[in-house]
């Protein structure tokens, strides 16, 4: 099978070209490093099936991070390279192009974002460029589908050119020559979009703007999420689904193992979708009615921010803060993604350069960032006691973030790098791309969550029947009761949390917790351990040794934070006299000497 590689710098639209050619959906965003692993897809071409590979973006064939290494390794496999080039940044992009031309693999060049060149006053002489390289050069605007037919027509291109541009310096001087010959730029006036880009970067205006954007995002997420639940999900389950399942319950006799496994236990004689814990009740109610609405609203907002190109601006604004925990501004992007799901975030952490940075970012994420699946349940369960409890939850997690971040910065060996980040131009997101990406993430959630929650409900029923929960409650219960002040049965939630955190929250509902206990458990479920899906990825990315260290940090944090909330939370709020010592403790932590003088290396 013919293999076609899509290669190019980060954020030049390779993934969009890939989606349009193969019809396979991949996540694309308006910032560098969205694709960290290659994706394969197929398309039919002249009665032949060809394989198309979307390779992570790279600036050079001398890799500086994992994603770039993947790109270089892929080279040997290709029968044809499509070099996707950002035509609004031709000079910089040609560095990779010239390196690829030396590889003696048939190649065609796609000058992407062609529609933007005119608006930016850039004029590129395509014919001249073709003559320089002696390979086909095709202007494209992938999001609009322009130029893709011409590319497909060249899939049988098999001529190999023989170029040798010499070392780095000679290559750049050659690029300089080519650019001055083929490209003319008429600088245009500062546009509105340029002005907005500058305002979002300068701290004085950028921080207020970021605060407003985050606030609006939260409001949309909550409003849309609640709207979906109240007007669509609940009516569906109550009006349409309940009669069906009640009938099934009758057929199954209203009690017994099979009945309870499928329909669940009847609560006061009727089905309770949240508390019955049958496969066809709670097992599908949690993922579809309680969590899915928030998945939709969260990823809709995230998708917009990604495609506009706003996220890298946040990186710049928080760079200072992130240095205090041994990271730099770029690492905020995986941490933001983690609020959706920790799994893609764990993959995005690959883009960080040093082992130390990867360890710190992974541990911070797994310990302190709740995913939207859990948050959907937290908003429902903890939020019912009052909005301030949600604020307490975030306050505790932020303080924990600062503490373990600062400690890791002091104690984890290795080096950290400095921020160096391309800031994409703001682009108006195309509605169809935003919704396609949303749909893909929804399907991804369903594929991941449905089986896991069903498996969890199945296990819960088996454990109840076999009395395993009773046993575990006896063994670990006193610990939970004495240190955390939660009912002994809360251990069930901690066990289910290994599978999925939303299900674990669901397990808490029948326990009739107080506000304080619900707060404690919601926080502990964030901290104590990642869900199995995240764990598997982290284990692969960090290795056994570092994963053990990260786990030790999580478990220690769990005991300390759980015990602390039990100690400091009195009545319906934190006792201020018991919060103040935290500040003193932080001063002590801040005074711990660094293991080594912080090295900012670019090596």
């Amino acid at each position: 099978m013919k293999k076609i590689l899509l290669l190019g710098n980060p954020n030049v639209g390779k993934s969009v070209v890939f989606s349009k050619l193969t019809g396979t959906s991949v996540v694309s965003s308006n910032y560098a490093g969205t694709t960290v692993e290659y994706t394969k897809g197929h398309m039919k071409w002249n009665d032949e099936i060809v394989e198309i590979i979307d390779v992570p973006g790279t600036y050079t064939l001398e890799p500086t991070n994992k994603a770039e290494e993947v790109a270089v390794e892929m080279l040997d496999e290709g029968d044809l390279i499509i070099n996707v080039v950002d035509s609004t940044n031709l000079e910089r992009n040609l560095n990779l192009t010239l390196q690829l031309l030396e590889k003696k693999i048939p190649m065609i060049i796609s000058l992407n974002f062609w529609d933007e060149t005119e608006h930016k006053g850039i004029n590129i002489d395509v014919e001249k460029l073709e003559k320089y390289f002696n390979v086909p050069v095709i202007p494209t605007s992938a999001t609009k589908g322009i130029g893709l037919k011409e590319i497909i027509r060249k899939f049988d291109y098999d001529k190999v050119v023989d170029h040798n541009y010499g070392d780095n310096e000679k290559r750049w001087s050659e690029i300089g020559k080519i650019i001055s010959d083929v490209q003319k730029i008429n600088y245009k006036e500062h546009s509105f979009s340029d002005l907005m880009e500058d305002l979002t970067l300068s701290p004085l205006t950028g921080i207020p703007i970021a605060a407003v954007i985050l606030f609006i995002s939260f409001m949309i997420i909550r409003f849309v999420g609640e709207g979906f639940i109240g007007y669509i999900a609940e009516p569906f389950f109550e009006v349409l689904y309940r009669p069906l399942i009640a009938q099934l319950s009758g057929i199954l006799g209203g009690d017994g193992f099979i009945h309870n496994l499928i329909v669940g236990e009847l609560i006061e004689g009727s089905i309770d979708f949240e508390q019955s814990f049958g496969l066809l009740t709670t097992g599908i109610y949690i993922p579809l009615a309680a969590v899915l609405p928030y998945i939709i609203s969260f990823y809709f907002v995230l998708g917009l921010l990604e495609d506009i190109g706003y996220l890298p601006r946040i990186s710049v604004l928080v760079d200072n803060v992130m240095h205090r925990v041994g990271l730099h501004g770029f690492s905020i992007i995986p941490l933001i993604l983690a609020f959706g799901c920790n799994v893609p975030a764990a993959l995005a952490i690959r883009n960080l350069e040093s082992k130390r940075e990867k360890f710190i970012a992974s541990t911070l994420m797994a310990t302190t960032i709740p995913c939207i699946s859990q948050m959907a349940m937290v908003i429902g369960l903890l939020g019912s006691f009052g909005g301030k409890y949600l604020l307490y939850l975030f306050a505790v997690l932020i303080v924990l973030w600062i503490f373990i971040g600062t400690l890791m910065n002091k104690l984890v060996p290795g080096f950290s790098t400095d921020l160096l980040l391309e800031l994409p131009s703001f682009r108006l997101p195309s509605i169809s791309t935003v919704f396609k990406k949303l749909l893909m993430r929804i399907l991804g959630f369903l594929k991941e969550a449905l089986p896991m929650v069903l498996l969890g409900v199945f296990i819960i029923n088996i454990f109840y029947t076999l009395g395993i929960f009773d046993y575990l409650t006896k063994v670990t219960g006193p610990l939970l009761k004495n240190i955390f002040g939660v009912p002994e049965a809360a251990v069930e939630a901690l066990i289910m949390g290994f599978l999925r955190k939303d299900l674990a929250m669901g397990v808490l509902l029948p326990l009739g917790l107080t506000a304080k206990q619900m707060l404690t458990m919601s926080i502990l479920l964030v901290i104590y351990f990642p869900c199995i899906a995240t764990f598997v990825i982290l284990l692969r990315e960090l290795g056994v040794k570092d994963m053990l260290k990260a786990t030790a940090i999580m478990l220690t944090s769990t005991v300390i934070v759980g015990g602390y909330i039990n100690f400091a939370f009195q009545g319906d709020g934190f006792n201020i006299m018991r919060v103040i010592p935290i500040i003193g403790l932080y001063v002590l932590v801040a005074m711990i000497p660094k293991r080594k003088k912080e090295e900012i290396r670019s090596a």
């Binding site: 600036y59 701290p203 710049v316 400095d418 800031l423 900012i600 670019s602």
Partner: protein, 78 residues
């Protein structure tokens, strides 16, 4: 024309890159983003209490961490 660190350049000033006081890897990474010796770049946002510096190189805005920016030597164009 004087040699200064990139961190000392005011916003909206144009300057020419003279040298890098860092390893070859730092140089490669900067070159990949269009910041090369001899090139002209414009400082869009200068550093604010130790934060990164944003420059315009060619048509791309690039954010450079303060510590790295201190190792980039430029001359300011009048």
């Amino acid at each position: 024309m004087t040699k200064v660190k990139l961190t000392k350049v005011n916003s909206n000033s144009k300057c020419r890159v003279l040298s890098f006081e860092g390893g070859p890897n730092m140089q490669t990474k900067l070159e990949n983003l269009g910041i090369r010796i001899g090139n002209e770049i414009t400082v869009v946002n200068s550093s604010f209490i130790g934060g990164p510096i944003t420059v315009l190189a060619g048509n791309t805005k690039v954010a450079i961490g303060r510590k790295m920016a201190e190792r980039i030597i430029v001359e300011v164009r009048k």
